[in-house]
């Protein structure tokens, strides 16, 4: 059986059948993502982040006691194709819903999935209050610095110089104000026990982010207080750049301001 084939003008290795003499180390779709493609843009970082989160939940063995609360944004597409229980919130309001859920189901693993427009624009007070309160939930922020779903406008986390639909020449402090570094802000609050910022622009960062998510969920399981993982994601559509340029754009422009790393609780 030939291991090669002709595609167009090139001879390449076949990639259409599983090898007999090998072990599967990573599968197509994480178990918890239902059959059916999502329709997010090519090169979008959000599916990568969501995959990390659900695989982490599966690793914890918490699938049958997880309740996730979704905000409103492009990622809302995942609210109805995950095999996890989902409660849909209004834009910005997931932390208060998650609070009610956790108070009634203290043994459940309760998390929110929100974008930066959702969490840092509309819902800023909600997440800050939940953090200050030390609410035992895990809030996950998918931060791409734009309102993806409505066309890519500037949000409260858009960094200076970042391209968005209404700042194509870059966010300007005098005209557009400064970004809110939400991860750093939350890390300064007493009730926040674990705060970290990861990214999904390369495999190394994906692996690092996975460890942050595990630490955050662990914080919740131990009842130690509010846990928060901010995940920088690519949005080539909202940034008006090519998909191949997005990982570097994230590293050079976004991560320069929203710095990757564990911001609080790093001793776990």
């Amino acid at each position: 059986m030939s291991e090669t084939e002709l595609v167009g003008q090139r001879v390449v290795l076949r990639t259409d059948r599983r090898p007999d003499d090998a072990t599967l180390v990573d599968d197509f779709t994480p178990d918890l993502v239902d059959v059916g493609a999502h329709h997010l843009c090519p090169g979008c970082g959000e599916p990568i982040a969501i995959r990390s989160a659900v695989e982490c939940i599966a690793d914890l063995g918490a699938v049958e006691r997880t309740i996730s609360v979704f905000g409103i944004g492009c990622y809302t597409a995942f609210s109805n194709n995950l095999d996890l229980e989902v409660l849909q919130a209004l834009h910005g309001r997931a932390p208060s819903l998650a609070t009610g859920v956790k108070r009634m189901r203290p043994d459940a693993l309760v998390l929110t999935v929100q974008g930066d427009g959702d969490m840092v624009n509309e819902g800023l007070q909600e997440v800050l209050h939940a953090a200050a309160r030390g609410e035992n939930i895990t809030c996950i922020l998918l931060n791409n610095g734009v309102f993806g779903e409505t066309g890519g406008h500037i949000t409260a986390t858009t960094v200076l110089g970042q391209r968005t639909k209404n700042t194509l020449d870059g966010r300007d402090a005098e005209r557009d104000g400064y970004p809110i570094l939400i991860g750093d802000l939350i890390a300064s609050m007493g009730g926040a026990a674990y705060v970290a910022r990861g990214a999904v622009n390369d495999a190394g960062n994906v692996a690092r982010t996975r460890r942050m998510l595990a630490a955050a969920f662990d914080t919740q399981e131990r009842g130690e207080g509010f846990s928060f993982v901010e995940i920088l994601t690519m949005c080539p559509t909202g940034w008006f750049i090519e998909t191949q340029e997005a990982p570097d754009y994230l590293a050079d422009v976004i991560a320069g301001t929203h710095q990757i790393g564990v911001l609080k609780g790093g001793d776990r």
Binding site: D31, L32, D34, V35, G36, A37, H39, V63, E64, R65, T66, I67, V69, T76, A77, S79, N80, N81, L82, D83, L84, E85, V86, L87, Q88, A89, L90, R93, P95, S96, L97, A98, T99, G100, V101, K102, R103, M104, R105, A108, L109, Q125, E126, H129
Partner: protein
């Protein structure tokens, strides 16, 4: 059953806990604050949770999350706070999640807010308007039952008087919620291939590339809404209308005063009756129409510029003339303890209208 002198807020809170409410969140605001204080006192011993939310938006959000797990949950405020909660109320209607919302109003100016709603979309909320502490204690378990049965928020519209006057009431009975909630979230359906979704956007998880279909979901929610509107029994208190020349319609605290005044006028031989709607939605249109049969006129007394009068007119559809004899009566604090809310003054207005009607 023991009877105790209880202040309205205390009685309402006790009734909520007796009705199985196990989660309450609120933000202090007059004249609602005492309900929050009492729930903070009564819920923990009952294994419930009461939270002082950092804002009204968060209060209803927390109650929404608690209700999503199947618990009987409630929140409340006064008009301004209810104004902040409108988006959440309407969204919970589309998501079909039960909730009880207590508006301890300042006067009666929130009638439109309660019955029409200031939220988005084509939603309805049943509204119950108690006029006494005893009636409030009766209506609280009904509110939770309606909310659970129809999977919809239900409002209780009270006011400063209700919250801050005392009446001898029987200790509320413990009630078990009987409506099953297979839609409630507890995590256990995760990984089953059919994990639950509780959402205002849809009820089904995606299969094979088909995402949310809002057209289909809103249509289904609409059917449920109309079923609820038709299925909730309108309630009304009617008295002395059989041979009345004038029927006076009033709700809540004002309704209590009007009923007392009408009884007094009747005992003096005046041909006057009253109708006191208890469900403001669904409005007891049939009862109002029935009560006005044979009357020369219907008068509406409410402590506002005229809101319920629209529903009275819609009930009568021109079969009887309708006059507004109410008006805004407010105190300097703005809490609604107005100087016109006084039996002799109400009596004078009704008598004047009766004379006008009988001599025309």
């Amino acid at each position: 059953m023991a009877r105790r002198l209880m202040e309205g807020s205390e009685a309402i809170a006790e009734a909520m806990v007796a009705a199985g409410c196990r989660f309450f969140a609120g933000y202090p605001m007059t004249p609602f604050t005492e309900i929050l204080e009492r729930m903070a006192e009564f819920l923990p011993p009952a294994d419930g949770v009461c939270m002082n939310a950092e804002s009204e938006l968060e209060a209803i959000g927390m109650a929404w999350g608690a209700a999503a797990t199947g618990a009987r949950a409630a929140t409340g405020s006064t008009g301004q706070g209810l104004a902040l909660m409108q988006e959440s109320i309407s969204e919970m209607c589309t998501a079909r999640i039960p909730l009880v919302v207590i508006n301890m109003g300042r006067g009666q100016g929130d009638y439109f807010q309660a019955t029409r709603g200031g939220g988005h979309g084509d939603y309805r909320t049943p509204v119950l308007a108690p006029s006494t502490v005893a009636e409030a204690v009766e209506l609280v378990p009904l509110a939770f039952e309606l909310a659970d049965t129809w999977r919809n928020p239900v409002l209780i519209y009270g006011d400063y008087y209700l919250g801050h006057t005392s009446q001898a009431v029987e200790t509320p009975e413990m009630v078990e919620g009987a409506v099953a909630k297979p839609w409630a979230l507890d995590g256990t359906s995760g990984g089953s291939g059919h994990a639950k979704l509780l959402s205002s956007l849809g009820e089904a998880k995606q299969r094979d590339g088909v995402g949310y279909d809002l057209a289909e979901h809103l249509e289904r929610a609409g059917v449920a809404t109309l079923e609820m509107a038709a299925g909730v029994e309108p309630r009304c208190d009617v008295g002395h209308c059989d041979d009345a020349d004038l029927v006076v319609v009033a709700f809540g605290t004002i309704g209590r005063f009007v009923r007392w005044v009408v009884k007094e006028l009747r005992s003096e031989g005046h041909r006057v009756g009253y109708v006191r709607p208890i469900t403001l939605f669904p409005f007891p249109a049939d009862a109002v129409r029935q009560a006005a049969v044979g009357a020369r006129s219907v008068a509406v007394y409410e402590n506002n510029l005229g809101q319920m009068i629209d529903d009275v007119r819609l009930s009568l559809l021109g079969s009887c003339p309708v006059e507004f004899i109410g008006g805004l009566s407010m105190d300097s604090s703005g809490f609604g303890v107005g100087p016109e809310i006084d039996a002799p003054k109400i009596r004078a207005r009704i008598l004047a209208e009766l004379e006008r009607v009988e001599t025309t």
